[in-house]
Amino acid sequence: MTLIDLYSILPAATLIVWALFLLLANFWFSKRQPVWTPILAGAGLLASLVVSIFFTGKPMAGFGGFILVDGFSNFLTPLFAVTGIFAIGLAYDYLRRMGIQRGEYYTLLLFSISGMMLMASAGDLIIVFLALELLSIPLYVLSGFAHPRVDSQESALKYFLLGTFASGFFLFGTSLVFGAARTTNLTDILAIVSSGEADTMLLLIGSALMLAGFGFKIAAVPFHSWTPDVYQGAPSPVAAFMSVGAKAAGFAALIRVFSMIFPSLAAELTPIFWALAALTMVVGNVVAIAQTNLKRMLAYSSIAHAGYLLMAFVPFGDAVTRSNSVASALFYLTVYALASLGAWAVLIGMEGEDNQGTEISDLAGLGKTSPLSAAAMTVFMLSFTGIPLTLGFWGKFYLFRTAIEGGFVTLAVIGLITSLASAFYYLRVVVKMYFQEGQPEFHWNFWTSSVAIFTALALVVFSFMPGSLFDLALRSMLTGS
């Protein structure tokens, strides 16, 4: 193992080491000062964030190509770290209120994040597979974290069984790709695939199977059905984390893997991605309209946004659009992450014992009783919708631009029309909060509220100067593309 190897996994390694340390420290703190566990976990993530920003700036390959450090991973790794920090901010008060305050939560969270980081820089299908499991297994557990609660258990079971089912697909797909390309190293696959030596049919079937696996992780229709149930049953901070972290990681892997396979099979795969994206946008947005529970609504919203993200990837086959394709996906992902975490933060503030307070109608009157939260929630909803002066607009702007640049005007129009439909249910939240009377109970907590306010501010402030973020995303080039 060389120093470069170490550098290449430093953020993830930091987290894993820190998690191990935290596991031990937790024995000490859990009884006496449980607040220290999340703080330490946060510190670990902060360390990882710092490391990810300062130590892995240059593109490189570690562990003989297992790890690829490039603009892409450099963009996503800090994103995961930040998501983790927010997830911890969301968790502490919630766990305390629900009486499930256990230090393992944070340890598992850190492990999961490390899995995500590895996923973002995976250079080999085996790393993809292992990272997928490393991020998933803690999430299975975290979903069932409130486990005497039946819905938490149900959520965990559904997530676990379906997740493993999807893993099975992915694994079988991987084996076929291995069979076609003789290797599992992504860079080598690219070389072999573009040289035309690989068997296209095997490769295609393998890709299809892998796509099903990733589709599950990113909650693309028709691999999405677990999402609402799991989000609803799982403890809210976990759902928040999943809606952002797991999705981002899934996309990271999807992009990584398909960036190798896609270009040479663009003709075959593009229509599939097209259909998946369209279907996901339509189903996600349409079904969200019928939701009455805020958690489920956010779940469907997350499905819908997966559709938008997929749309960004559709034109990847076009060499000219490629860099924009990835950049706009990443940009959108960031925007989505901010809004989603914020929205969940407000939801967590609303949630009481036994899922009380999570119906959309429970929000009635929030504008009066908790104006700041309501304002923040409004920003998130507007950002989800893609209304200007929130970053969500620029997300969609870049996204649709990419789709149109790739010549997928129809897809862009579907996206635009579905985002109109989305306004319908996002607005309902605003309507409830401001236009209807009620006395909602809002559990104000410094950390939770900080997450909400920080994300809301970020969404608004950066909407005035999205240029630098665009640049950042554009620089997130993938190795090999």
Binding site: L416, Y434, F435
Partner: protein
């Protein structure tokens, strides 16, 4: 260029300063909040007047241009590009002129959550001014969509009984139009590497085939906003449920954004499509004129009646625009101003009645001229201005529009204008019906017998509008002069581009 002194920047963002001040004040300081908003809007008006004095009205080009690089995205530069010409300056003046009056009208009407109201109101002004001044398509779109938010809250929080329905409907309809516009904007930006209107207008870059669907994409957004038949159904609800000041701004300015969009985008960018589709647009406009007038008649709610009258009046605007000649276009622009004044004033008067009686149903009024003679007289003048009586503002613009449409070679048939002229009759039918139901006949309701006549504040609100109504009616020349060079340029541009393609 000295950015700090750019009048456009000052005009556009001064209300934002006011909004920030409002946000800093405590909610219970009602008077301070009101005055802050009023003074802000007045200063903005003053600034726009100052801008007008420096405006060169024989120059057809964009003036006070401000083009700051804002966002770079790939090969696309999104500029913070503001500018004004003879077309937009009238819209800007209308906006800054109506705002203080609208704010003044809330003095008694809005008692709850004044802080939010004023903040949203001033934000709305920023958005609207931005729409009229933007020369970058993306910037335009940002402002365009942004105006939805304050208006949505204004309707939803301070509106009438069905405010939520109306607010959501308003939001969704408008957004429905604009999503396709965004697709169009992006397509153009990608295809021609620029979002800059000044570079694209009349450049003839866009091929005729593409122009058609782009015209549709942009046109849908604008047609919904205008609103053109049959995309209007958000308007009656939004108008009816909005608070008075909101209705004034909605009718007075927001609708103009749609018509302005046609002028600023569809005509110069897609001249061939414009020429091709002009008869269709004119046809829809004519249907709108008659349809709005027919539906307005027999409405039970005054605000709904006025709302449908807007559909009719805006139909004239669209007809004028697609006449594509000087008379039509100038008439259309003036009609935009006139409709802002007349309908704005009508909504203000309805609001005044509502403040006194807390009802908008026609059946609850009658014979008020006897009870409130001054208000009755003011209402009469306003109604007549809306009817299009010569000597008042409405006539000048409607006449020129019809004249333009009648002689338009683009529309191709005088039938459109001929049928549209029937609207002149119908306008008298429904507006006099309204006036009669409100002010004429005997006083039938006991509650109406002791109504107070207009206060000094209310006279102060209405008088400026009526002064302009007379001014434009009697001496519209300055207004025409202001817009003439820009319109001439636009007409020439459309015609030459369309000719080039043939």
């Amino acid at each position: 260029m000295n950015i700090g002194l750019n009048p456009l920047l000052l005009v556009t963002f001064f209300p934002l300063v006011g909004a920030l001040v409002v946000l800093l004040l405590k909610p219970k300081w009602k008077t301070a909040l009101r005055w802050t908003a009023l003074v802000t809007s007045l200063i903005t008006f003053g600034l726009s007047i100052w801008m007008l004095t420096r405006f060169n009205d024989i120059d057809p080009e964009i003036q006070f241009e401000l083009n700051l690089p804002w966002i770079t995205l790939g090969n696309n530069q999104i500029g913070f590009h503001l500018g004004i010409d003879g077309i937009s300056i009238l819209m800007v003046l209308l906006t800054t002129f109506l705002m203080p009056l609208a704010i003044l009208s809330t003095w008694k009407a809005v008692e709850e959550r004044i802080k939010g109201f004023m903040a949203f109101f001033l934000l709305l002004e920023v958005g609207m001014l931005g729409v009229f001044l933007s020369l970058d398509m993306v910037l335009f779109y940002v402002f365009w969509e942004f105006t939805l938010i304050p208006m949505y809250f204004l309707i939803g929080l301070w509106g009438g009984e069905r405010r939520v329905y109306a607010a959501v409907k308003f939001f969704l309809y408008t957004m429905a139009g604009s999503v396709l516009m965004l697709a169009g904007i992006l397509w153009i930006g990608l295809q021609y590497g620029s979002f800059d209107l000044t570079q694209l207008s009349g450049s003839g870059l866009i091929p005729a085939a593409a122009q058609l669907w782009l015209f549709g994409a942009f046109g849908l957004a604008f047609a919904i906003k205008v609103p053109m038949f049959p995309l209007h159904s958000w308007l009656p609800d939004a108008h009816t449920e909005a608070p008075t000041a909101g209705s004034v701004i909605l009718a007075g300015i927001l609708l103009k954004m749609g018509a302005y969009g046609f002028l600023r985008f569809n005509l110069p960018l897609f001249p061939n499509a414009t020429v091709t589709l002009a008869p269709w647009m004119a046809g829809l406009a004519v249907i709108g004129i008659l349809y709005g007038a027919a539906v307005a008649y027999l409405q039970k709610d005054v605000k709904r009646l006025v709302a449908y009258s807007s559909i009719s009046h805006l139909g004239f605007v669209v007809l004028g625009i697609f006449a594509l000649n000087l008379q039509g276009l100038q008439g259309a622009i003036l009609q935009m101003v006139n409709h802002g004044l007349s309908t704005g004033a009508l909504f203000l008067i309805v609001g005044m009645l509502y403040e006194r009686r807390h009802t908008r149903l026609l059946e609850n009024f009658g014979g008020l001229w006897k009870v409130v003679p001054v208000l009755g007289t003011l209402a009469l003048i306003t109604t007549l201005s809306s009817v299009g009586l010569p000597g008042l503002n409405g006539f000048v613009s409607e006449f020129t529009i019809l004249l333009g449409a009648f002689s338009s070679t683009v529309i191709g048939s005088p039938w459109f204008a001929g049928v549209a002229t029937l609207g002149v009759i119908l306008a008298a039918v429904y507006l006099l019906f309204m006036f009669q139901k409100l002010f004429l006949g005997p006083v039938t309701h006991e509650e109406n017998k002791k109504l107070k006549d207009v206060s000094a504040r209310e006279i102060l609100i209405l008088t400026p509008i009526l002064i302009f109504a007379f001014w434009i009616g009697i001496y519209p020349k300055p207004f025409f002069m202001l817009m003439a060079p820009a319109v001439e340029k636009l007409t020439a541009l459309v015609q030459s581009a369309a000719l080039l393609a043939h």
